[in-house]
């Protein structure tokens, strides 16, 4: 086991990366969609490295047997020679710390096993409540026209920035549809919330929309809300925050495969 430690760690890490990026879309809980090709490539490279390490170790071990056996026939003698070379590369790497796995590398088993066995859930209301909801840093101005569609699907982030900063009032009179999870405010208000991520879940910040005219579902339920925008406060001011949607219907939905929105 100790001899194959490095190989096992590489296979484990590579397998974990492939499990979340190639065989499922779980990686979206942790990083952005754009990272997928890099994750798949690194997963494959790690698995190949691990496999090569296993083969090298085996051939190294056999090579020594062959070397001891150099009294044998011609074919064997050749094998022994080959093995001797491998043995060399091993004694080289052996002089570089024990085997291939430095002790600290065993820490890699923590995230690898977590991803393989119990992939941690996407961040939800707990993180949203902790991060003060942040408004996109931008000034008041006109926005490009909204595409056609009735109802029109919008991201929580897009809805928020148009509601607060759009001097053209492009949201007015449109029927809109937002998807997010439910969070509750102190004063009985409830929100459709989405975490905005630019790189990985570590930099998540919350965007939220207050929902009126509908009963609040349980916290962390994923819902799709259809409704119309309720203007409030002066454009770009604190009073305009958070934006408000008057709901016509609230429907429970399954958690989308990408639980975050790109910032």
């Amino acid at each position: 086991m100790r001899r194959y430690g490095g190989a096992v760690l590489l296979l484990l890490t590579g397998g974990a990366v492939l499990r979340i990026s190639l065989f499922s879309e779980l990686y979206l809980r942790y990083v952005q969609a754009g990272l997928r090709p890099y994750l798949v490539v690194s997963g494959v490279v790690l698995v190949v490295l691990g496999a090569v390490a296993v083969v090298a170790q085996r051939r190294g071990a056999e090579g020594h047997d062959g070397h001891d056996d150099d009294g044998g026939d011609d074919g064997h003698g050749h094998d022994g020679d080959d093995g001797h070379n491998h043995g060399h590369s091993h004694s080289h790497s052996h002089s570089h710390g024990h085997g291939y796995g430095p002790p600290v590398a065993w820490l890699l088993t923590l995230p690898a096993l977590a991803l393989l066995l119990f992939p941690p859930p996407a961040l939800g209301s707990y993180s949203a409540d902790r991060e003060a909801a942040q408004r996109a840093a931008q000034g008041v101005g006109t926005f490009p026209a909204l595409p056609a569609g009735d109802p029109l699907e919008l991201t929580v982030g897009e809805f928020g920035s148009r509601a607060i900063f759009d001097s053209g009032r492009s949201l007015k009179g449109r029927t809109l549809r937002l998807t997010g999870f439910v969070t509750h405010g102190d004063d009985g208000a409830w929100y459709v919330t989405r975490l905005l991520v630019s790189c990985c879940a570590a930099d998540a910040s919350a965007g939220k929309v207050e929902i009126r005219d509908a009963d609040a579902p349980v916290t962390d339920t994923w819902v799709t809300v259809t409704g119309t925008w309720v203007p409030k406060g002066e454009l770009g001011s604190d009073a305009a925050w958070p934006p408000v949607l008057a709901a016509e219907s609230v429907k429970k939905v399954a958690e989308p495969s990408n639980p975050y929105e790109k910032r």
Binding site: H64, D68, H94, S95, H96, P102, Q134, A201, A202, R263
Partner: protein, 383 residues
């Protein structure tokens, strides 16, 4: 588990050596092979003796296997039973939303870091295995004061975040590049490469001075740190080119693969360590605390510089985070982006692994001060 060996040269070797010899056999290199061989010539004739040893070995193997199975099996059954009875109640108590969020952030940082770490170790192992030393001595001026800015500017060529630059800088040093120059490269590469600068310009639309400020302040910090090292640095703060360095294990493919494997595992372990620290801070210190400090311009610069250290946001993403910290002055946000790729918990852990703890602590703290000073000066000048 060692197989029972039926070949005379090996079992005689068993009698000769310790009982674990066969499991270690592959790691000892040619030396054991030689001993095994001489053992063969010494004992080879005593067939009867060898036959008895074979039976004893087989018995010992069988008994050991039986004991392992029984002990392991009982332990496993006990663990499974306890876990299935107590597990659900424990899990409910321990797996609070905070713990769940910790795991997610922790895993996210590791997942984010793995491709870049792999890229960095690929480059560093390739340098170690395929680039002869004289290339660097020819490319870089002998004069350290000149080599430092050149190495700093060369950071442009390594696309990736800070995880990639540590192993590369380590292998540059092993290849004979002056530490001062390698360190300047280490600091500048994650901050000034094209990917990061493009990300910065996307995060701050219509503010090209932010991109310029980041480039200038980061490069200045890297060069100043290189010069400081050339002037005041002591060789003894850096470990001697360690045997554990992996990448230098030999030229060509034979050195490349073991070097790559070792470097990745080594750096990966420290990445996990740093991710754990970052996730802990992420969960323990809510970002909303920051809003209390936005009033004073000086405090806010220091605060964001500290935040950059504890948040460990990847250098390709930190511009977006900086842009979202809308309550802070541009200079404070610049400091966040200059400090982040050079000093953070994950990076300190990686550096401690590659260059030793005493180096990482000294180097990171000085770098932090220089980076803050340089961003204040550049911010005052440009922003």
């Amino acid at each position: 588990m060692p197989p029972v060996n039926l070949r005379p040269d090996l079992w005689t070797f068993h009698r000769d050596g310790t009982e674990r010899v066969d499991s270690e056999h592959g790691e000892h290199g040619g030396y054991d092979g030689y001993r095994g061989h001489s053992g063969h010539s010494g004992y080879g004739g005593y067939g009867g003796y060898g036959g008895g040893a074979r039976v004893v070995d087989g018995l010992r193997f069988a008994v050991r296997a039986l004991v392992y199975t029984v002990v392991g099996g009982i332990a496993l059954i006990a663990i499974v039973t306890v876990a299935s009875v107590l597990g659900p109640t424990f899990a409910m108590d321990l797996y609070t939303p905070a713990v769940a969020a910790w795991w997610t952030v922790f895993t996210a940082i590791v997942v984010q870091g793995v491709p870049f770490l792999l890229l960095g170790t690929l480059v560093s192992a390739a340098i170690g295995a395929f680039v002869p030393e004289k290339v660097f001595t020819r490319l870089l001026p002998r004069n350290q004061a000149l080599a430092v800015p050149i190495a700093g500017a060369a950071g442009v060529v390594l696309p990736g975040c800070e995880c990639a630059s540590v192993p590369v800088a380590g292998s540059l040093m092993r290849r004979g590049v002056a530490p001062a120059a390698a360190l300047a490269f280490l600091l500048s590469a994650p901050a000034i490469n094209p990917v990061v600068l493009v990300a910065t310009s996307i995060a701050f639309p219509g503010q090209p001075q932010m991109v310029l400020g980041r480039l200038v302040a980061s490069l200045a910090t890297a060069v100043v740190m290189g010069w400081l090292w050339a002037r005041f640095g002591r060789g003894k703060w850096l470990p001697r080119p360690r045997a554990g360095g992996g990448g230098s294990s030999g030229p060509g493919w034979r050195g490349f693969l073991p070097g790559l494997q070792y470097d990745f595992l080594h750096a990966g372990g420290f990445l996990v360590l740093g991710a754990g620290a970052a996730a802990t801070f992420n969960i323990v210190v809510p970002r909303s605390v920051l809003d209390l400090f936005t009033g004073s311009p000086w405090l806010s610069v220091l605060l964001l510089a500290v935040l950059a250290v504890v948040l460990c946001v990847c250098s390709e993403a930190d511009a977006f985070v900086a842009a979202s910290l809308s309550g802070f002055s541009p200079t404070a946000r610049l400091a966040f982006m200059v400090v982040g790729p050079m000093v953070d918990l994950k990076l300190i852990a990686l550096q401690a692994g590659t260059f030793g703890r005493s180096f990482a602590v000294r180097f990171s703290s000085v770098t932090w001060v220089v980076a803050v000073a340089s961003s204040v000066v550049v911010g005052w000048w440009l922003l």
